[in-house]
């Protein structure tokens, strides 16, 4: 009797029972994310075990006599069984200690910390500027659909999409740094310990490279969804009703067209987290990507682990964030599914 009474009671459901899609998404996805990170760390560790050689041979190179090799392996703890090495690393991390670099004995936290900031500056600058440019151009191209402006932009975007980032980077360097003009630095070297934003000139070409690579994707998605939105009934209604053009574009069409684009922007940020590896390498930019390349060639397991976990956590975070924003901008999807 009580059960039927409860279900038949009229009025809003109690606060605790009300589904809250955004909060639930965040909690559920975060828990899955943590599990993912643990799995990633196991996978990465396993991968480092499969790679030929180890940190000792990487440090000693051609001075690696068997005696020196064994001495260094013992010193670095590389002669322990693999599960014991992993367990030692994991317990360290759970205590907030990411270990010491096998290559130079410095704490991994310090080595990686500064580089996170450097890479984040690249990713955020390129992501934000690239998004604004992509969205802006997309709206304009959609508004002037089939005009010369639209065609030129669309073809250019398609062409740029086909260019890998290292080609873009090399072309920029040739034109703006090394050969034709000498306007910007060809490589981004700044004194270790100084913040990247205190060297704005050094940032120009790497950021420009990343922007050029992501803009076409954002642009094309924005243009397509904007065209859909502009063809919809409510936009035609608004136009018929005499709403000014800019209001139609930015207040009626854009908010509805942005949702699919947010997914692409999210993907762009994810791409940037990987794309910085190549760009940092070319510009000798002291970021995470460059550190990862070095750490892998040095078989520096604690540093590889730390960097891969940072990148994986960034992926998970951006994925959750994109979904949350998508939910927030499309009220329809927030309704409980029935």
């Amino acid at each position: 009797m009580t059960a039927t009474e409860a279900t038949e009671r009229v009025g809003p459901p109690s606060r605790a029972a009300r589904p809250h899609p955004i909060r639930d998404t965040v909690i559920r996805r975060s828990l899955i994310g943590i599990l993912t990170l643990v799995l990633v760390s196991i996978l990465v560790f396993a991968a480092t075990q499969v790679l030929p050689g180890n940190a000792a041979s990487a440090v000693l190179l051609n001075t690696a006599t068997p005696a020196r090799l064994h001495a260094l392996e013992a010193q670095l703890g590389l002669n322990r069984p693999a599960p014991a090495q992993y367990w030692a690393w994991l317990t360290g991390v759970l205590h907030g200690n990411f270990g010491k670099s096998l290559a130079n004995g410095q704490p991994v936290g310090t080595l990686v910390g500064g580089r996170i900031v450097n890479s984040l500056v690249l990713v955020v600058l390129a992501g934000v500027i690239g998004t604004l440019i992509g969205v802006g151009l997309g709206v304009l191209a959609a508004a002037r659909r089939d005009s010369v402006f639209d065609h030129v932009l669309s073809v250019t975007a398609l062409a740029v999409t086909a260019l890998p980032e290292f080609v873009v980077a090399v072309v920029l360097v040739i034109f703006f740094a090394a050969v034709v003009f000498h306007w910007f630095p060809a490589v981004s070297v700044f004194v270790p310990g100084t913040a990247p934003w205190s060297n704005p000139r050094e940032l120009v070409l790497p950021v420009a490279t990343l922007i050029i690579v992501i803009v076409p994707y954002v642009f094309r998605m924005m243009r397509a969804s904007m065209i859909d939105a502009l063809e919809s009934d409510y936009v035609q209604m608004a136009q018929l009703k005499g709403v000014p053009r800019w209001r139609v574009l930015f207040l009626h069409a854009l908010p509805n067209a942005i949702a699919p684009t947010i997914q692409v922007i999210g993907l762009s940020f994810l791409y940037l987290a990987g794309g910085v590896v190549v760009v940092e390498y070319i510009f000798n930019y002291p970021g995470l990507g460059q550190a990862l390349v070095n750490a892998v060639s040095d078989r520096d397991i604690p540093q590889i682990q730390a960097i891969v976990l940072v990148l994986a956590a960034f992926y998970i975070f951006v994925n959750i964030l994109t979904d949350v924003i998508s939910l927030a901008v499309s009220p329809r999807r927030r309704l409980p599914r029935s």
Partner: protein, 525 residues
């Protein structure tokens, strides 16, 4: 990126040997102003001038970079160590030994004991005087059996425990076996630098022209002029900033954009690009060597006829043309090219396919198939392997090139490969023998163990008379020339770049860039 240039060269080779390495540049060199190479200048920057910061952009380092002279391995390690510390004996640009911290080295008759007198009035960067105690401390640390330094292998004859101080500036160095070449062994840059008693690698001090200001491994390090430096008039520079570069592309871009003043270890295909943009090239005849190593004790290469056939298939000039644009020095399967003992009278080995084929026939090894382990362990190494494979095919030999990672190469199979490559910096003849071609040598990669050769070495190393020693060394080289396990086709050039504002750079024969990174005589205009 970096690989594109290299891969491009490889592809060119696989297709046809007719493509010259100089013409086959990557993206960037295609934009150079021409392919003609100008004369190489050593300096365009006028008279010496004091002050300024030299910015060096160097490749060859890693996050395993170290400031510890006991464990220096890479090029960038040497660049720092050669400016922070000094050895008892150094190397001139012509690769001859010269006293640095030592005033005199004197052996006894049978070279079993040396007396070393050091110069007075030299101070470490912390102000402490250099004395006999520091010399003893250095050798005892390097030769500590529990944690031997990288120089330990070459100084194994020294009985460090029994070293004694005769007075504040004189040390007696007893040797467990005769060691007539102590002076030469100490002269190899970056291996036997003197550190003070109680040396702390975290706050390193030496007696060198520059002292440490900051160091972050794999990234950048800064050095400032040491005011109390003992040599008068130098250094000129106030500061040296050494930045690690991952690869040549970004390094050359930095030079062309004026972000660095000197760069090291360039490949021949960027020379025209660097010069076309108004920068200079410093070309040195290096004494380093990139041998092919054949194991003489087992397998295919246990047969001396097959080893000789392999040596005869090599067109050394063509290999040098393709790998280093024709710069460098032709080799004759012997190491120690600049050593006084090097035997220049042995006939230069030429490519002789017929002779190679008949040797193979005699050995019953026609249609020989061998695997060559290669890796980008040094400049041009993998490319040389590709060229060798092409040249060997002329004699019906199939060389399948297995390009492994550097880590794999120096991993558990290092020094055990049947047929592989290696790279060495310059060393004098007998010291090199003690490292590589004796049964007791720590890096005997060819597993060479020849009774006559061993006894000749024992004789030579106990001979203080240099002309007699040279005679014995020549006989040893004859044996290597006839039967050895090394193919030494060439001694690579060392190609460095520098801006027009840099003066005082001289070419050096050590095989290390920028005359073993000796920046004390360098100035900026």
């Amino acid at each position: 990126m970096t690989l594109s240039r290299r891969d491009f060269l490889k592809t060119g080779l696989a297709g046809s040997l007719a493509i010259g390495a100089v013409g086959a540049g990557g993206l960037l060199s295609g934009c150079g102003t021409g392919d003609t190479i100008k004369a190489f200048t050593t300096s365009t920057a006028g008279k010496p001038r004091y002050g300024g910061t030299l910015r060096a952009g160097l490749t060859g380092g890693s996050t395993a970079d170290t400031l510890d002279p006991l464990s220096a391995v890479t090029n960038v390690d040497f660049s720092r160590i050669d400016n922070l510390y000094e050895p008892l004996v150094g190397l001139t640009p012509d690769a001859l030994p010269v006293y640095v911290l030592a005033e005199e080295l004197t052996p006894n008759k049978d070279a079993t004991e040396w007396t070393v007198r050091i110069k007075q009035g030299i101070t470490f960067h912390n102000g402490k005087d250099l004395t006999a105690d520091d010399v003893i401390y250095t050798f005892q640390t390097v030769l500590n059996p529990k944690a031997p330094g990288s120089a330990a292998a070459g100084l194994a004859s020294i009985d460090a425990k029994r070293m004694t101080k005769l007075d504040a500036y004189t040390v007696r160095i007893p040797c467990s076996t005769p060691f007539a070449t102590l002076g030469e062994s100490l002269a190899i840059p970056g291996y036997s630098d003197i550190i003070p008693v109680g040396y702390n690698p975290a706050a390193p001090v030496g007696t060198g022209p520059f002292r440490l200001k900051s160091f972050s491994p794999g990234t950048q390090s800064t050095f400032v002029r040491y005011g109390g430096y003992w040599q008068t008039g130098v250094p000129y520079l106030d500061e040296v900033v050494i930045t690690d570069y991952a690869d040549q592309t970004s390094q050359v871009n930095a030079l062309l954009a004026g972000q660095v003043d000197v760069v090291n270890l360039l490949s021949a295909d960027v020379i025209s690009e660097v010069q076309g943009e108004g920068k200079n090239i410093l070309l040195s005849d290096g004494g380093g060597w990139n041998p092919f190593t054949m194991r003489v004790d087992s397998g295919t290469f246990g047969d001396v006829r097959i080893r000789q056939a392999m040596r005869l298939v090599v067109d050394r000039q063509q290999m040098l043309d393709l790998v280093f644009g024709g710069f460098g020095t032709i080799g004759n399967d012997l190491f120690g090219i600049w050593a006084p003992e090097y035997d220049h009278s042995l006939p230069q080995r030429q490519q002789d396919i017929d002779q190679a084929k008949s040797l193979l026939r005699a050995a019953g090894a026609e249609g020989l198939h061998v695997q060559l382990i290669t890796s980008e362990i040094g400049q041009g190494v993998t490319l040389a392997a590709q060229v060798l494979a092409q040249q060997a095919s002329l004699a019906g030999i199939t060389v399948s090139v297995d390009d492994v990672t550097v880590n794999d190469f120096y991993g558990t199979n290092y020094l055990k490969w049947q047929f592989a490559q290696d790279y060495w910096f310059y060393n004098f003849y007998l010291p090199q023998v003690s490292l590589a071609t004796l049964p007791t040598a720590p890096f005997n990669e060819t597993h060479w163990d020849n009774a006559r050769y061993n006894s000749l070495y024992a004789q030579a190393i106990a001979t203080t008379d240099t002309s007699l020693r040279t005679e014995i060394a020549h006989e040893m080289q004859q044996i290597e020339y006839d039967e050895g396990g090394y193919i030494i086709p060439f001694f690579p050039p060392v190609i460095d770049g520098f801006g027009t504002n840099v003066g005082g750079l001289v070419p050096g024969k050590s095989g290390l860039s920028l005359n073993a990174y000796d920046f004390k005589g360098v100035w900026l205009s």
